[in-house]
């Protein structure tokens, strides 16, 4: 079995990144937006792991980085969900369009 070329993996991560981007820009539901952000972060993780494996096989730097990113993503999810809950309490909605008071 021939090894998977790095370009395939990069294609997957790029696709994941833009799917996340698309979701972030188009979904109004904040939970979905949060999920999109997770997708973006995971695409970056894939990149790190892939480059670590193909460019510096003997080292673990990229893998550590992706571990950190997973940690931060967890923390970020906790904060984001707290924000969403508070938004729901005050606005009875988690639609970002409904939270537009801070405009001009």
């Amino acid at each position: 079995m021939s090894p998977v070329p790095v370009t395939h993996i990069l294609f997957v991560s790029t696709a994941l990144f833009f799917i996340g981007m698309y979701g972030l820009f188009t979904r109004r539901n904040m939970i979905t937006m949060l999920m999109s952000v997770e997708l973006i972060l995971n695409s970056v993780n894939i990149n790190f792991v892939a480059f670590n494996k193909y460019l510096y096989p003997g080292k673990l730097d990229g893998i550590f980085f992706s571990l950190f990113i997973i940690t931060i993503a967890a923390a970020e999810a906790a904060v984001a969900i707290a924000i969403i809950i508070n938004l729901y309490r005050s606005h009875h909605s988690i639609d970002v369009e409904d939270a537009g008071e801070l405009k001009y």
């Binding site: 972030l24 820009f25 188009t26 001009y104």
Partner: protein, 643 residues
């Protein structure tokens, strides 16, 4: 400190009563406000008399010359060595004389007001203002420093403003108080500049030092001020002329006299105090105080002479035509102050030549008594008939015997009939003028005839002319407190002339021997009697002769009646010229250019922000999109442009 320190009480007592009455009077001792003010003034008067006695008869004279005594001195602001603003008390013949006059007349007015102002809503406030005025005036006369005099000068102006506008619900009183304040304030601008000029050259603000430095012909100060010139006139003369401008404003000299007749809107006792005896002579006092300096400048003395003379003459003519009794008295005051001014103008420093100075101060002294008597008398009359107009009066001699007699005495005094007070002082003035300038003498003589005429016109119109037409109930002559000052002042108007004034007050402090020269006196007295006779012929009983004469004079009479259109001229200058030609363009410039620039900037900012404010949509996702776009742009820049 010396044994004169108690004099500090003279200005402090009225100040204390002002503070007390002004702060607590309306609430706590409304009923006693008058008595309290009067009591404090009584104490002040007694102190002033003691001071005068001590100064004139015990301490003042050293080797036959009255000295300047600095009773108290306290440096308030020090600018440089020798240049400071001091608060102090100076005793010299004129300041002691003024202390007595001011406190005495003020006392009389306080007593008179007890009856006259009875039942006024703001009775306590009235007495507070009177006290403030008295304090300022006393502070003015004892000033040791030219800046001290200036400060009290302004305080006098403020208290006069407050008192003229006492009936603040009357629009004419409000207008009059504003007019008085603005006109005198305008004149004071000149005074301030004059002070700055003189003190800049003399390097001092102290009167004694100022006079010493600016009168010694060899001193470097005198050289610098008399050799420097501006527009061809020496700076000394400019400085003195500007100081005189301040004096002319307060003393209602032409052309700054327009406020005085209007100031009669105030309560009548106030007119007696401020606009007859005290504040209006502040200008004369100022010139007298600086007289040694004035006497070094021929031009400044001429200015004083001719302004005084012209004011005396023109005011006498206007007084002949007015029908409001207080306005007649106002113009007569202006005329008499004109006398004092030109008497100073024809005087020289020292000796026989200083006769005019002495005459001026003497006239100030006697005039204070008979003019305040005239005003208080007219106050009693107005209190009775509730009108200022002559046509509402007449025949009052039976109803108001005391007012009648005292008014007659005052009229005789001002007309210069011997042996009443005015005769002696006017005599000295005319004699001084006769020796110096025949033209001034002639006009002064004619004016004294006019004075007698208009005063007796006033007298006959009030007390004779026709039958009294006051029907039903009237309150008689008023209370004892109103009669008493009339009686006291009436006595003084008779005897004040017998004071050997020239022994006490002269330009150099050395007693001057004067005697009445009967041959010389004959002419002024004849003029006075002629004026009285003419007034008797025309006005003793109501007839149509005055109207016929007025008609035959036509335009001239009308011009005098309209006060020679000087008010109209001022209005034309201020309203038409200054308002339209300077005020309006300036306002246009301010509105359209200065404000326009600022408004334009603001409008431009608002417009731009209106255009771009849509960016702040409040939509999180569009922010994220911009952010992403920015990242892309940066990335593109780094990749393609950053080479």
């Amino acid at each position: 400190m010396n044994h004169y320190s108690y004099i500090a009480l003279i200005p402090i007592l009225p100040l204390a009563s002002f503070l007390l009455l002004g702060l607590f009077g309306r609430k706590y001792f409304k009923a006693y406000a008058g008595l309290l003010g009067t009591a404090s003034l009584l104490a002040v008067t007694v102190l002033a008399l003691i001071t005068a006695g001590q100064y004139f008869f015990e301490d003042g004279k050293v080797n036959g010359v009255y000295q300047k005594i600095i009773a108290l001195k306290y440096t308030w602001l020090q600018f440089a060595p020798g240049v400071s603003i001091d608060m102090g008390i100076v005793l010299d013949p004129i300041s002691v004389m003024m202390l007595v006059v001011v406190s005495f007349v003020s006392l009389m007015v306080h007593i008179f007001s007890l009856g006259y102002m009875k039942g006024e809503e703001r009775f306590a406030t009235y007495y507070a203002f009177l006290s403030l005025f008295t304090f300022s005036m006393l502070g003015l006369v004892i000033a040791t420093n030219i800046f001290q005099i200036y400060m009290f000068w302004e305080l006098v102006g403020v208290s006069s403003f407050l008192l003229i506008g006492y009936y603040f619900d009357k629009p004419s009183a409000v207008a009059a108080s504003k007019k008085a304040f603005i006109v005198t304030r305008f004149a004071d601008l000149g005074f301030l500049i004059g002070i700055l000029i003189l003190s800049f050259h003399a390097q001092t603000l102290d009167f004694a030092t100022l006079i010493e430095r600016l009168t010694a012909p060899q001193s470097s100060y005198f050289m610098s001020i008399s050799t420097a010139s501006f527009l061809g006139i020496s700076v000394l003369t400019w400085g003195l002329a500007l100081v005189f401008m301040g004096g002319a404003g307060k003393s209602a000299m032409f052309p700054l006299h327009i406020w005085l007749p209007d100031a009669m809107e105030g309560p009548t006792p106030v007119s007696a105090l401020i606009h007859a005896a005290t504040m209006v002579v502040a200008g004369v006092y100022l010139v007298a105080r600086l007289f040694p300096i004035f006497s070094t400048s021929e031009a400044a003395l001429h200015l004083v002479t001719y302004v005084g003379l012209f004011s005396a003459f023109i005011a006498a003519i206007i007084a002949c035509t007015q029908t409001d009794i207080k306005r007649v008295l106002a113009y007569s005051t202006m005329s008499q102050i004109g006398y004092m001014m030109f008497a100073l103008g024809v005087a020289k420093q020292g000796g026989e030549e200083g006769l005019g100075y002495m005459g001026s101060m003497f006239h100030l002294f006697t005039h204070a008594f008979f003019k305040s008597l005239l005003f208080l008398g007219s106050g009693a009359v107005i209190h009775m008939v509730h009108s200022n107009e002559m046509k509402d009066m007449g025949g009052l001699r039976k109803l108001m015997p005391i007012t009648h007699i005292s008014f007659l005495i005052a009229c005789l005094a001002i007309a210069g009939v011997p042996p009443f007070a005015g005769f002696f002082s006017k005599e000295e003035i005319l004699l001084a003028a006769y020796h110096t300038n025949k033209m001034v003498y002639a006009v002064g003589l004619f004016t004294s005839g006019l004075t007698a005429f208009y005063m007796f016109r006033l007298y006959y119109n009030i007390f004779w002319s026709k039958e009294a037409h006051i029907h039903g109930e009237h309150h008689g002559e008023g209370t004892l407190s109103m009669k008493l000052p009339l009686i006291i002042l009436g006595i003084l108007a008779v005897v004040a002339g017998f004071v050997p004034f020239s022994h006490f007050v002269t330009s150099d402090g050395v007693a001057l021997e004067t005697h009445i020269d009967y041959a010389f006196s004959a002419l002024p007295v004849a003029f006075g009697l002629a004026g009285i006779a003419l007034a008797t012929y025309l006005y003793k009983t109501a007839n149509d002769k005055p109207a016929a004469i007025a008609n035959s004079l036509g335009g001239l009479y009308k011009a005098a009646y309209k006060k020679f259109y000087i008010d109209e001229l001022y209005l034309f200058i201020t309203k038409t010229i200054i308002f339209n030609l300077i005020g309006r363009p300036a306002a246009w410039f301010d509105k359209n250019v200065v404000d326009g620039l600022m408004n334009g900037l603001a409008a431009l900012t608002a417009k731009i922000s209106e255009m771009i404010k849509g960016l702040q949509s409040g939509k999180v996702q569009s922010y994220a999109l911009y952010f992403f776009g920015g990242v892309l742009a940066l990335a593109a820049m780094f990749l393609y442009l950053w080479k």
